[in-house]
């Protein structure tokens, strides 16, 4: 077991523990704590991306998710000023439904993983998700989707401005 394998376990456990603290923090039901743990989840997941040699995506993950998206979340949390949310109880029926459906989906995942062919021990993969390789692909094969996504971002921007106007008609 080399250093990358140890790092995998470190980042995997960090991702899962922080992810669990996002959805069910025993100490605080405050959305701000959830948001901060989501940032930590995303950063440890960027570590996993680095271990998978997806360097560009790891950077994008940190910059876009941990940076832009989470700042947006925190802005909205501060804007809404949710005080009485902490006192609400979690319903028993919701908890049971959640546990049952999560158990079902985990069972499906594990069964399908066990049913799939065991990984042939290939030689170490050579793929490098560098900015150069990804950018080349993005501007050749994926040029049209890339342009469409830019239009999508424009539409989203206009929509957000319209939605956040004071007198929503």
């Amino acid at each position: 077991m080399g250093p990358p394998d140890i790092l995998f376990y470190v980042f995997a456990i960090a991702t899962l523990v922080f992810g669990a603290l996002v959805v069910a923090n025993p100490f605080s039901r405050n959305p701000v704590t959830s948001a901060m743990f989501l940032v930590l989840t995303i950063i440890s997941m960027a570590g996993l991306f680095v271990l998978l040699h997806a360097f560009f995506l790891a950077a994008v993950q940190v910059v876009v998710y941990a940076g832009a998206v989470m700042v947006l979340f925190l802005f909205v949390i501060m804007l809404l000023d949710l005080k009485e949310e902490d006192q609400r109880k979690i319903k028993k029926t919701g908890l049971v439904a959640g546990l049952v459906s999560v158990g079902a989906i985990v069972a499906i995942f594990i069964r399908s993983l066990l049913a799939s062919a065991p990984s042939r021990d290939l030689a170490a993969p050579q793929l490098e998700g560098s900015t150069f390789a990804l950018g080349k692909l993005l501007f050749t094969d994926y040029l049209l989707p890339f342009e469409i996504v830019s239009i999508l971002l424009l539409v989203a921007m206009v929509g957000v401005i319209l939605l956040s106007k004071k007198d929503l008609k």
Partner: protein
């Protein structure tokens, strides 16, 4: 035991399950939204690991697009939550049961 594709897929599956659990049990609209992000991220992790172990970069381009669309989706969704909060003074799903504003 060397870390292979399965290890990453197990992490991804567990993270997806955590996100689903949050979506079903939590009642705060914002935490619900964060759980959705968790699920999207688990799909990203699965795509990147498949891409790595199949020596194919297309999966990573897909993840790039997913991150872009997720950013747009978060912006629109949060604007909707803010607009809803202005009308109803609540960001709690149990208070938001009627369609009419």
């Amino acid at each position: 035991m060397n870390v292979g594709l399965e290890h990453y897929l197990v992490v991804s599956a567990l993270l997806f399950a955590l996100g689903l659990f949050g979506v079903i049990t939590r009642r705060n609209l914002l935490v619900l939204y964060m759980s959705l992000e968790l699920m999207l991220n688990s799909a990203n992790l699965a795509l990147v690991s498949f891409s790595r172990f199949n020596d194919n970069l297309n999966g990573q381009v897909m993840v790039f697009f997913i991150i872009t669309v997720a950013a747009a989706e978060v912006a629109v969704g949060l604007a909707l939550i803010v607009a809803l909060y202005r009308k109803r003074r609540s960001a709690h799903v149990e208070d938001l049961t009627s369609m009419k504003l």
